[in-house]
C-alpha cells in the first residue's frame, strides 16, 4: 500500500502545481460572493419587498457547483493526469518506477477525488461564511455540509467516466472535448427525456437529495446506489483495461 500512497502524494503534487485549480476555486468563491451580495442588496433596496434569500448560500449555489463547476474541474484534472501526460510523455516517469499500473491508475483517480472533495468543502465553507458575514444568517449549515459531502459519490463516477474517455483519446484537448460533450449530452438528455433521467448517472449529481430530508424507500435507494455502482464498475474496469494495455 505504501507505493499507492506515494503515488497519490505525487499525483496531488502535480495537481497542486497547476495554478488553474486555485483560479477555478477562487472563481467559485467569487460567484458565491456575488450571489450573497446580490440577494442582500436587492432585499435591502426593495425594503424587504423582494425577498430572494430563501435558502442558505451553500444550498443556493449547489446546482452551479455540483453540476457544472466541479465536474468541469475534475474533468480537467483527469485530462491533466492522463492525456496530457501521454501527450508530453511524462507518463513514462511513473511507469518506469517500481509501482504497478493498477496502483498508478487508482492513485490518479484518488488524487482527483481528493481535489473534488477539497472543492466541495472549500466552496461550502466559503459560501457559508459569506452568508454569515454579508447576510448575517446561519441557516441549515449541518444539512448543507452533509449534502456537499454526499455529492462526492456521483462526482467519483464523473471522474471514472473522464478517466475512461482519456484512455481512448490521444490528445488532451480531444479528451477534454469528449468529456464535456459526453457529460453535456447525458445531462441534457436527462432533462429533456425524463424517463431516461433515472437511468443516467448525471441525473444523480445531487445525490444528497435521495438521502437527506425526505428519504426514499430502502428498495429505491438500493436500486439507485446499485445503478451508480454499476456505472462506476464499468467505467473503472474499461478504463483500467485500456490503461493496462496502453503502449507508452
Amino acid at each position: 500500500m505504501k507505493k499507492f500512497f506515494v503515488s497519490v502524494i505525487n499525483e496531488c503534487t502535480k495537481l497542486l502545481h497547476r495554478k488553474k485549480y486555485l483560479v477555478f476555486l477562487l472563481i467559485g468563491i467569487a460567484i458565491s460572493l456575488f450571489n450573497v451580495l446580490g440577494k442582500t442588496v436587492v432585499g435591502r433596496l426593495s425594503g424587504g419587498s423582494f425577498n430572494i434569500s430563501g435558502s442558505s448560500a451553500p444550498m443556493a449555489m449547489m446546482t452551479l457547483f455540483i453540476e457544472f463547476l466541479i465536474p468541469l474541474v475534475v474533468m480537467m484534472a483527469v485530462c491533466d493526469l492522463f492525456s496530457t501526460e501521454y501527450q508530453e510523455m511524462t507518463m513514462k516517469a511513473v511507469l518506469i518506477r517500481p509501482v504497478s499500473r493498477i496502483k498508478i491508475y487508482a492513485s490518479k483517480l484518488t488524487a482527483v477525488t481528493l481535489l473534488a472533495l477539497v472543492y466541495l468543502l472549500v466552496l461550502f465553507a466559503a459560501s457559508g461564511v459569506l452568508d454569515l458575514l454579508i447576510a448575517g444568517k446561519i441557516r441549515s449549515l449541518g444539512y448543507a455540509f452533509f449534502a456537499y459531502l454526499l455529492d462526492i459519490v456521483p462526482m467519483f463516477v464523473v471522474i471514472l467516466m473522464a478517466a475512461f474517455i482519456n484512455q481512448i483519446g490521444k490528445g488532451s484537448t480531444l479528451a477534454m472535448f469528449l468529456c464535456i460533450i459526453v457529460y453535456g449530452v447525458l445531462y441534457v438528455a436527462g432533462i429533456f427525456i425524463p424517463n431516461l433521467s433515472g437511468m443516467l448517472f448525471t441525473g444523480y449529481m445531487k445525490w444528497h437529495s435521495l438521502w437527506l430530508g425526505h428519504m426514499l424507500p430502502v428498495g429505491a435507494l438500493t436500486a439507485k446506489t446499485a445503478l451508480l455502482a454499476g456505472y462506476a464498475l464499468v467505467f473503472f474496469s474499461g478504463g483500467y483495461y485500456l490503461f493496462l494495455r496502453r503502449e507508452i
Binding site: K3, V6, I9, N10, T13, K14, H17, R18, E88, M89, T90, M91, K92, A93, L95, I96, R97, P98, V99, S100, R101, K103, R245, E247, I248
Partner: protein, 244 residues
C-alpha cells in the same frame, strides 16, 4: 554468474511492421552491455519492452529472475532507466522532479538527491524549472533520475543524446566508475559505435529488428580495428557479403 537480465525470443512488432524479432540476450551482474544499431534497428523497442513500457507479442523478459509482465513492481525495484527523451515535469523544478521519483524508494533521502544532482552537475540549477532547461540539461536530469535509487541495473537509451563533448565524457565516466566500483550492471544503447567501444565490455548488434551478434567486446575487436568496422562487417555478413 547471476543473470541480471534475460531476454528470450522477444518479438515486438508494430502495425507498420517495424519492431524486433527473435531477440535473445543475457546480461550478467557487472556487465556493461552495449546495444549497437542504426536508427530504427529496434534498440528503443527492445528497451521499452524490457522496462515494461511496451507489451511484447511473444517472448519473455526477466529482471533479477522476475518476469516484467507478471510483476512489474518487483522486477523494477532495482532498476533505473532513461528511455528515449527524459520524462520530466516541466512545471516542476529539478529537485521536485527527483523528489517525486525518490518517494518510491526507501533508500533515497534528500542527501542522495543532493549527491545525484552534484554528480550530473546540476546542483546549481536544483530550483530551476525543468521546462526551462536546455536539451543537455534535461538529459543530465534524466540521467540523475535513472541513477537516483542507486540501482543495480541501469538501462540507458542513447544517453549521449543532446550532450556536449564534456557531457558525453562525464556520462562515460559515470558508467565506468559505477560499473567498476559498485558492480552496477548497464545496458546502454547507441548508434555511435565509438561511444560503446569506450564503455562496454559486451556488445550486441541490432539491425532491422534482428539481433545479429552478442559477444564480448574483446572478441568483437579481435579481427576488427574498431567497433565501427566490426558493425559494418557483421551487417555485410548478414547481407551475404554485399558492400554497403
Amino acid at each position: 554468474m547471476e543473470h541480471v537480465l534475460e531476454i528470450r525470443n522477444l518479438k515486438k512488432l508494430y502495425k507498420n511492421g517495424r519492431g524486433v524479432e527473435e531477440v535473445n540476450l543475457t546480461v550478467d551482474r557487472g556487465d556493461v552491455v552495449g546495444l549497437l544499431g542504426p536508427n530504427g534497428s529496434g534498440k528503443t523497442t527492445t528497451m521499452r519492452v524490457v522496462t515494461g513500457l511496451s507489451v511484447p507479442n511473444s517472448g519473455t523478459v526477466k529482471i533479477f529472475g522476475t518476469e516484467i509482465q507478471e510483476d512489474h513492481e518487483k522486477a523494477m525495484e532495482k532498476v533505473g532507466c532513461l528511455i528515449e527523451m527524459p520524462a520530466l515535469y516541466g512545471n516542476l523544478t529539478a529537485w521536485q522532479n527527483l523528489k517525486m521519483a525518490a518517494r518510491y524508494y526507501d533508500n533515497v533521502d534528500n542527501d542522495r538527491i543532493r549527491y545525484i544532482l552534484t554528480l550530473v552537475h546540476l546542483d546549481r540549477y536544483r530550483n530551476d524549472k525543468a521546462g526551462r532547461f536546455s536539451l543537455g540539461m534535461k538529459q543530465r536530469l534524466g540521467l540523475a533520475l535513472a541513477l537516483l535509487s542507486d540501482p543495480e541495473l541501469v538501462i540507458l537509451d542513447e544517453p549521449a543524446n543532446g550532450l556536449d563533448i564534456e557531457g558525453i565524457i562525464q556520462v562515460r565516466e559515470i558508467i565506468t566508475k559505477l560499473a567498476a566500483e559498485r558492480g552496477v550492471t548497464f545496458l546502454v544503447s547507441s548508434h555511435i559505435a565509438s561511444e560503446l567501444e569506450k564503455t562496454c565490455n559486451k556488445v550486441a548488434v541490432l539491425h532491422e529488428g534482428q539481433m545479429l551478434t552478442f559477444e564480448p567486446m574483446e572478441k568483437a575487436l579481435e579481427f576488427q580495428p574498431t567497433l565501427e568496422d566490426y558493425f559494418l562487417f557483421v551487417v555485410r555478413e548478414k547481407r551475404g557479403g554485399v558492400v554497403l
